[in-house]
Symmetry: C2
Subunit: 137 residues, 2 copies
DNA sequence: CAGAATCCCCGAAGATACTG
DNA sequence: CAGTATCTTCGGGGATTCTG
């Protein structure tokens, strides 16, 4: 079991630690989950409000990703028995626990962006300088 | 500009902070990037070694994701002029800067996994208990 | 060995329309 | 309002084969 690949170890235990990382990414994945979470970290919103707030999302996708977030108990769905019916989405305490992770991701992302802007011309990366004009004032 | 959506603010600045987060996720995204990075955080590997080490990846995908990682200067590709040619991949210092982020993702993922295992039966989540038998001994 | 080229398929996601 | 239903397209990614 020592060197199945020649001289180098298999790093099997190392790759084992992969799973939790992938779990997190799976939960955060999908174009709209992070926007949803970030939005709900600041306010409760109703479906249509989220739809308006998050630029580009379709009702179908919004609904789908909200459901997934709900399944993981990151987001709570509350129905108010008005007419017509009102539904409010809010972040759960568990959802709040993602704040640190999201912060770290944002931090690294900022550094990365800064690094690219700072004339690292060797990098012709795709997404960064341009893209995503965020909701005009 | 105060309440365009009724009584609630737009949270435009909030959604602005999204971009760096998405940058990070974009870079980490793809089934194989994290496995590659984690592997290279421990050793340098050659193409075929990575191919064997990372269970399930095809040469095409491995090549593609390695290229993307290279573009972002997270991974370095070194060609040795032997016959036949040898290529070694290694993590760059910049790639190393991802360690913290990956650690946080792993930490949250572990907690999430633990939480689910701990009999939170209300959650019928997809990926977690089973899946991914990691490289048998 | 280290990949590139080719073919192909299936599922994610957009557009549009409809319902309780 | 808060979604669902259907239809369709598009490209990510698998399997396989080929090359320097």
């Amino acid at each position: 079991m020592e060197h199945e690949l020649g001289v180098k170890p298999m790093s099997a235990e190392c790759l084992q630690h992969l799973k939790p990382v992938r779990d997190s990414l799976d939960i955060l994945n999908g174009k709209w989950k992070i926007p949803i979470i970030v939005a709900l970290l600041h306010h409760n919103y109703r479906f249509k409000e989220l739809h308006r707030l998050i630029d580009g999302v379709t009702p179908k996708m919004l609904s789908k990703e909200l459901k997934e977030l709900e399944l993981n108990e990151l987001v709570k769905r509350t129905v108010f028995d008005t007419t017509p019916v009102t539904v409010e989405y809010s972040i759960t305490p568990y959802g709040k626990s993602l704040e640190k992770v999201i912060f770290e991701l944002g931090k690294w992302g900022s550094e990365h962006r800064a690094r690219i802007m700072k004339g690292k011309e060797s990098i012709k990366h795709a997404r960064c300088p341009e893209k995503e004009t965020v909701l005009p004032g």
